[in-house]
Each structure stands twice: as C-alpha cells, then as structure tokens.
C-alpha cells in the first residue's frame, strides 16, 4: 500500500477515525507520519489536521459540499483574523481571544487531550481575588434569602452587613 502523502513509500502507519457515521482512513509511510505529527500523542487525534485528505481524495463528488462547508467553516477571530483553516494547518491558535471565538469546536478537542475541561490550579492573584469575592458574595446572598424566609432577622442583618462590606457600591440600595 502506498503512502497517501508522498505517494512513493510504502504506507506503514494506518490511521482510522470515525467522524459522525463516516469512517476516514489514512495510510502513511513512517517519514510522512512523523512529519505530520501522527506520532505525537498531543495532536494525532484529528485526521482532518493531516491534509484534509478525505476532501482531496474524492474532490469531484465532495466539491459541492466542500463549498458549502467552507462558508460555514469560515469562522474568523475578530481580534486577530485567525481562521479554522489556519488551525487545521498547524494546530496552534492565533491569539488568546481565539479561545472564545472557537470555544465550541475546542471543547471536544480538549476532552481528548486533557484530564478535564476546566482549569484547576494556579491563577494570577488579581483574578483569583476577584473570582473569590464574587463567589463569596453569591453564597452570602443565598444565605440572606434563606434567613429572610425563615424570619431570622438577626442573622439577616448580620449577613446584609457582611455583603455591604464586600460590595459597598453595588447591590446596596440608597438608604431610605
């Protein structure tokens, strides 16, 4: 069997991926597999990264759908102008903002690459403080509602004071 990329060497690396209900098969020689990063566990799981081989193979038949797909696919990062096609080319994103732009497409990819899809660990202090205080505020407000429902007005008053301390400007209505 011939390598699908260089069309010279014998294909030794065979790669099958099921996308939706379609099976894609890629046969590569060792050099091309290496060049395309198929050996690299981080990036091998997306056959379309390789070449868009499936589209090239039966381009006549796929022509019409490819055009339609191109229009839909032409998602572009408003900040840096990076497109999905760029990502397929080298597996790197354009700028930090791309993570918002391509969030939907990335979710599945992150699942295959990582232990989870939500960050656990270090955060810059400034961001951490902001996140912490907004979470604390939420929990205090919940407790306040509950206290009011249970007519525990002493507790409610204490909670209200605590909330005022964290968010003195927001959420405090002007005194009557």
């Amino acid at each position: 069997m011939q390598c699908m990329v260089c069309k010279q060497n014998t294909a030794k690396v065979h790669f099958t991926q099921i996308v939706g209900d379609k099976m894609q098969r890629v046969d590569l020689c060792e050099e091309c597999a290496k060049a395309k990063g198929v050996n690299d566990a981080g990036s091998f799981s997306f056959a379309d990264l390789l070449l868009g081989i499936s589209g090239e193979k039966d381009s006549a038949a796929a022509g019409a759908t490819a055009v339609a797909a191109a229009e839909v696919d032409e998602l572009k990062c408003p900040t840096c102008g990076f497109t999905q096609a760029d990502f397929k080319k080298n597996g790197r994103l354009g700028c930090p903002e791309c993570y918002n732009t391509f969030a939907d497409g990335l979710e599945g990819l992150l699942k295959t690459m990582h232990k989870g899809t939500r960050h656990v660990g270090k955060m810059p202090m400034a961001l951490k403080a902001k996140t912490d205080s907004s979470e604390r505020l939420k929990s205090l407000q919940k407790r306040l509602e509950k206290a009011v429902q249970q007519e525990d007005f002493e507790l409610a008053a204490n909670l209200r004071d605590e909330i005022r301390q964290i968010a003195p400007r927001s959420s405090t209505p002007a005194a009557p």
Binding site: L93, C95, Y99, L106, M113, M123, P124
Partner: protein
C-alpha cells in the same frame, strides 16, 4: 557581556549534585504564559512580535530572580552561540532558528531561563541537578508570581492560562526529568517501561525533547496533560512515577551485575578502550560511550575517577562547544579528530576499569606473576 563568559564553566556545571543524581541528571519545570492584546508568536507578524518583545523583555529583566542575568535578542546572537544554548538545554532547536522579536533571559548558573516568543510569549523554566521537582516548581512559581504583577497575562477563569497550542492550556506546566537509564537499556527492559509510562499519560522523549532520539541512554519523562489537574498534583504524580523508574533502573543494574557481569564489563571496558584510544570519534558515539563510562563509575568500576569528569566531557565534546573552543570553521571530520584528542588527553590518567563482580575471573585481567 559575551554569552560564553556568562555561562557556567562545564567543569563547574558538571560538579553540581542533587538527590538521586546517579540516575536523574536534572529536574525541570517549565511554564507557558502569554499576554493579552498580542497574537501568539507563531501567528503574529514580525512587527507585532517585536512590539511584544519590547514589553516582555524589560518585565523579565526587572524581576528579583533575574538581577544577575544574561539577556539577548535572537538576532544579536550568532549561530554558534545559539547552538551552545541548545547544547546546554537552555533553548529549543526551534527557538535557535528564530530572529528579531525573539530572545532569551537566564540567570547566573542557568537555574532560571525564559525564552521570549518561542511558541508562546513566555516559556520559563527552572532546572536543578538530580531529582528536585518540587524545588524546581517552587523556583519557577516564584518567578511567575513576580511576573504576573508586571504583565497582563492572558488567562481565563475556566481554561486557566491561555496558550498557543491547546495541549498546554490550563496550568501551562511541563514537569520533566532527564534520566540516565543504561541499566534498563542493556537489560532490554526499556521498551516495556516506556510503554507503561505512556499508559500513565506521561511522555518519554530523547535527549533534546520532542522528536529526538535517546542518545547516551538519556530519556526525558514529562507530563502531557495540563488542564484539569493542579500543578502540585502533576508534580506529585511525576515524582511517584520517577521513583518507580529509579527503582527499576537500580534493579536492572543490580541484576546485570549478578547475572551477566561479563556482558556489562564488556560494554564498559570497550567504551573505556575506544574513548581513551580513538583518534577520530563522532559526537554521537562519544555520547553513547560516555554513558557507559558513567555507568562504570556508578558501579564502582572506575575507582579514583570523579563522575564530574565524565559529565564535563559530555558537555565539552559536543559540536558547538568544540567549535567555540577551537574554531568556528571546523568541519565535522576535523571535529572528530579534535574530539578524540581531547578525550585521549583527559582520560590519560584514568586507570582501566576494574570489575570486582567478576570475582576470580578478574584475575585473568591482571598480569601473571
């Protein structure tokens, strides 16, 4: 200051010691960081990369840890200096190929090193000799905390630190150790070990990182996943796996000594023979044979020899180091001659290896009385 004068001398560098340094050559933790408002280096145009560089470099140079430092832009370093930095594991091969808008800052003794505009805006690493992952993490964590007040990091609450490649997203951390595993290689146990380490979600690579071969029986083990697991958990997981690999390597060496002492001694004796008698030798062969000499030292076959000598030779016999010492114009064949001269000279005072494990057989090596 000239690069070569700032770098530690190979003779000093090879004298550094750390826990378990018979097997663990070094421990390294690197963090990937980017700043808001700039495209990632691989996608940014040259002008934007240069603008980012102008923001990044002064911020790094202002940190306390980098008070005593070497800093340079890649276009001001010549090709030979860049190659020396690669041979010292301070920059990647990819980074060595970069020009204006990319750079490097590292401190005295090369413990901390920051690559500017490699794949990410910042790739910062801490390296310590021996098995000291926690110490390396603490050092790079401190530098990162210092930098976060000086730079506007690109970070999201849900995804953590944003990186050019999604494989580094989250913590942006790569924890790795450089391991010398001749015992497992000679006992032909290395492949199953690599496979089981891979199954634990860790990568095993060669001497110069991604896509390089394991010259001199040196392997790099590192984490692959960076999102969904905290830095301290990743460090702890690596520590645990490394402890097991160390045990396997020690067992491998011990069982070779007990079951196949002649095979072992044959390798080490031949390595000594070639290194101390060759008149032309390639860098690759040198690396592989010095690895066996190091093993011989660890097993007590080379009494009176400092391991630092072997480690120093594995630095100074590398191509760029030879060119720096002799001449930039050296052709590979000329380097092979000079390398052999250097090895013969430095090993002239080293007596032949002695293998006690061979017991009575060893007497065959001694002159008849």
């Amino acid at each position: 200051m000239e690069l070569i004068n700032f770098l530690s001398k190979p003779s000093d560098f090879s004298r550094r010691t750390g826990p378990n340094d018979k097997i663990v050559l070094s421990s390294r933790v690197r963090l990937a960081r980017n700043i808001r408002g700039f495209a990632f280096p691989g996608f940014a145009k040259k002008a934007e990369r240069v603008r980012a560089f102008e923001v990044l470099r002064p911020a790094i140079e202002a940190t306390a840890a980098m008070a005593d430092r070497f800093a340079g832009s890649m276009d001001t370093l010549d090709a030979l200096d860049k190659q020396i930095l690669v041979e010292r594991h301070l920059i990647s091969r990819e980074h060595a190929a970069k020009g204006p808008g990319s750079g490097i800052v590292f401190n005295h003794q090369e413990i901390l090193c920051v690559m500017i505009n490699e794949e990410d805006h910042l790739r910062m690493q801490a390296i310590y000799p021996g098995l000291q992952l926690k110490k390396a993490f603490a050092a790079i964590d401190a530098l990162d905390s210092d930098l976060e007040s000086r730079l506007d990091y690109a970070v999201s609450k849900d995804l953590g630190y944003l990186t050019a490649c999604p494989t580094n997203l989250g913590t942006g951390i790569r924890v790795s150790a450089m391991l010398h595993l001749p015992g497992l290689v000679l006992a032909e146990q290395i492949n199953p070990i690599i496979q089981s380490v891979n199954k634990l979600g860790l990568a095993v690579r060669g001497l110069y990182g991604e896509g390089t071969e394991a010259l001199g029986n040196i392997f790099q083990v590192s984490n692959q996943m960076t999102l969904g697991e905290s830095e301290t958990d990743i460090v702890a997981r690596l520590d645990k796996v490394l402890a097991q690999i160390i045990e396997h390597e020690e067992n491998g060496r011990q069982s070779l000594l007990e079951k196949k002492p002649k095979v072992l001694f044959n390798h080490i004796g031949r390595a000594y023979g070639v290194l101390s008698n060759a008149y032309s030798i390639s860098s690759k062969e040198t690396m592989n044979l010095l690895s066996l000499l190091r093993l011989g030292h660890d097993l007590g076959f080379l009494p009176g020899v400092e391991r630092a000598l072997v480690d120093e030779l594995s630095i100074v016999t590398q191509p760029a180091h030879l060119r720096k010492k002799f001449s930039d114009e050296l052709q590979p064949e000329e380097r092979d001659l000079l390398r052999a001269d250097m090895l013969r000279e430095r090993l002239a005072g080293v007596p032949r290896p002695q293998c006690k494990a061979l017991g009575d057989d060893a007497s065959l090596d001694k002159p008849q009385e």
